[in-house]
């Protein structure tokens, strides 16, 4: 197979220092924020996302000493409302600048992680460009979505784990799970990753019970226990504290809504049509539970197969979680896109094939957007076509994941870092 051309190779010719790239990315995001202000004032279609208005209204309630859940559709942690109180006191753009900063922090952590894995500065910067100059995260953060905060926290967790700072990583992880529920799936690969080496590799014909017992004993190693305990403590402290302050509303909107969310409205997931048609049937609850099964099986399989490379494992986890979820919107793509620059050095795909896969990914979305537009803005009955497009998009995502997995080559020089 021809040697891969790393994505950022051509940047070597440019001789731009990493600080320069970061500076350009920051300026581009700031420019977008101010453009958003202009568009909000002049055009009828607003640039700012509806979510940002929800956050600001909730922050206003917080400044008045009331519950942020008084604002309808506020389904996030109260921490976000608290963090955005300067929106009310100082300037309404504060939140957007906070999200842009988290975006840049994400990129910085990517850069440090890539350096830590042994890449050169230029190459690391080249891979970071995928996140820094990518229009999708730029637009998402400047529009006022809070996804970059969770991305930054997840990357902080991975970075701290790579540097063997288990307790700090656990705090960051607990905070990330509190803000968005999806990182909870990482607990299995993290636990497997923190396990000490097997003292006696591969005893054949070992009874299953003995192996299970040994596995559980290893699971109770110091690192794993420390991580689980600290993360659990962080999460419980936050939840308990907010429950004391805001009561049942907090639990309902922050956690339960996301767990039991059954969105029958059209979205990328092909499950939506089944949920819509069976919404009132007695089978709907069991069907909803059954939809968890493919996710669960695949996630477990991937965890056990790839836990040694935590970053790759987490990337696959998130990609599978988003692809097979009952609800899938374009916001969710950021969750695994932020881990893609870390995975790219390890996945040896010819750049032509990579471009083809990328095009297929965009075509899959376009094929879904067309009937969805006809339904929502022209009132045509295109439910079946939306469902088929969702199914096709699922197939495309699966084929991309299969390609990534099959071309993945673990770094030969990567050592298993032992945790004491």
């Amino acid at each position: 197979m021809a040697p891969t051309k790393p994505w950022g190779e051509w940047f070597l010719g440019l001789r731009v220092p990493p600080a320069g790239v970061f500076g350009v990315a920051f300026l581009a995001r700031v420019a977008l924020v101010f453009y958003g202000v202009f568009q909000d004032r002049t055009l009828l279609v607003r640039y700012t996302d509806v979510d940002y208005r929800v956050f600001t209204d909730a922050a206003r309630f917080v400044t008045e000493g009331r519950s942020p859940y008084l604002r309808a559709t506020y389904r996030y942690t109260p921490l976000l409302g608290w963090l955005l109180t300067p929106n009310v006191y100082l300037c309404e753009l504060f939140g957007k600048f906070l999200f842009i900063s988290c975006d840049l922090l994400t990129a910085f952590l990517l850069y440090r992680l890539l350096l830590f894995k042994g890449l050169g500065r230029r190459r690391a910067c080249g891979y970071c460009v995928f996140w820094l100059l990518n229009p999708l995260p730029m637009a998402v953060s400047s529009r006022g979505n809070a996804d970059s905060m969770v991305a930054a926290l997840v990357l902080a967790t991975l970075y701290l784990l790579a540097r063997r700072q288990v307790a700090c990583a656990a705090v960051s992880y607990g905070l990330a799970v509190h803000m968005k529920m999806y990182p909870v799936t990482y607990i299995l690969p993290i636990a497997l990753h923190l396990l000490p080496e097997r003292g006696d590799p591969g005893r054949p014909r070992c009874p299953f019970q003995a192996r299970l017992y040994e596995f559980l004993k290893r699971l109770c190693s110091r690192a794993v226990l420390l991580f689980v305990a600290v993360a659990g403590l962080t999460f419980s402290a936050l939840s308990f504290g907010f429950y004391q302050k805001y009561g049942w509303e907090f639990l309902e909107h922050t956690y339960l809504y996301h767990l039991t969310r059954r969105d029958i409205r059209h979205n990328f997931s092909p499950y939506f049509y089944m949920l819509y048609l069976t919404a009132e049937s007695p089978w709907s609850f069991s069907l909803g539970l059954a939809a968890f099964l493919p996710q669960f099986l695949l996630l477990s399989a991937v965890s056990f197969a790839y836990y040694r490379d935590l970053v790759f494992c987490c990337f696959l986890h998130t990609a599978i979680f988003v692809t097979f979820n009952k609800v899938c919107t374009s916001q969710y793509f950021l969750w695994y896109l932020c881990l893609l620059p870390l995975v790219m050095p390890l996945v040896r795909i010819r750049w032509k094939r990579a471009v083809v896969l990328l095009m297929l990914w965009f075509i899959g979305q376009a094929l879904w957007l067309a009937p969805a537009y006809l339904l929502e803005f022209q009132g045509k009955n295109t439910f079946l076509f939306i469902w088929l497009a969702g199914l096709f998009f699922l197939l495309i995502n699966c084929s991309i994941l299969i390609q990534i997995i099959s071309h993945y080559k673990q770094e030969p020089l990567a050592e298993r870092i032992k945790y004491d």
Partner: protein, 352 residues
Amino acid sequence: DLAHVTAPAPLFAPPPTRRRGAGRRRSEPGGLCCSLPRRRNFRGSTAAGSRGTAGPQARVTESSVPVTNSVAALSRSGVRRAQAPPSARSSVFTRSARAPLGSAFSSVLAARAVGVRAVAWLLLWEVAGFTSIPATAFSAAPTDTGIRATCSEIILRQEVLKDGFHRDLLIKVKFGESLEDLQTCRLLIKQYIPSGLFVDPYELASLRERNITEAVMVSENFNIEAPNYLSKESEVLIYARQDSQCIDCFQAFLPVHYRYHRPHSKDGETVIVVNNPDLLMYCDQEFPILKCWAQSEVAAPCALKSKDICQWNNMKYKPVYKNVTLQVPVGLTIHTSLGSAFRTSIFRNRSQ
């Protein structure tokens, strides 16, 4: 033709009185015409006294004028005269112009005047029996017919713009007659939103900020994301604005959105029905149009940003359409068994 109105004065007085009356007629065009005498009699009896006739004569003149007016109102032949002061005015001019032309005219007039006067006296007895007739009846008698004739309908038209799940409801109200007084009136539309639609109150707040429309939701505790069968009707108050393109028109605008509806077994579409709204009107003064069409009173805020409650009048109007029906695409339950449904839907789409 005005003889029976002006006759009593000349009959009591010698011709010079009439000439005096004629002169006065010339100097005060329409001074003795139908409309002015009526007013003089009810707003100031001194006006009749200024004519210079004797007391009892004046009183007779005063009382006979309303009698003859009521007679005119009651008898069909008099209606025309009572209603048409301008023509009476012109006939006064012609009378005053023709009077010097020949005495024949005056004798004919005198004979007619006697007959009519007799009838008037007879009827005066009848009318005296009706002691409870209020003064307003006299003034209202000709004006009632005036209102019934000039009280045109209020026309309301409901339209839905745009396509798809996000629509704009446009309500246009047109008043049949051109009245400058409408500038001081305010119109409030109380729209009932069926459970198949929803209105986003935050969107309304943003439209209020941008001064595009003034609408506010009355109902509380709604769920924007719920489907149709888990939702309830809601109410929205829209403060209508004057339409710049049409005189005496008001319009109101409201963005609405579809909810998801139950899937259907055969049809790919179901229907939402939007009924005609309540039209509420508030004017600073009493206008005839309010008297015509007001059915009941409703308490609502006077303006969007004020907390004062006004008593609005619920007006009866004529709607252009009985109601507005909207088509909503829904899923087909036959798709639930996806295998066979896949084939059937392809054939259905081909046949359409």
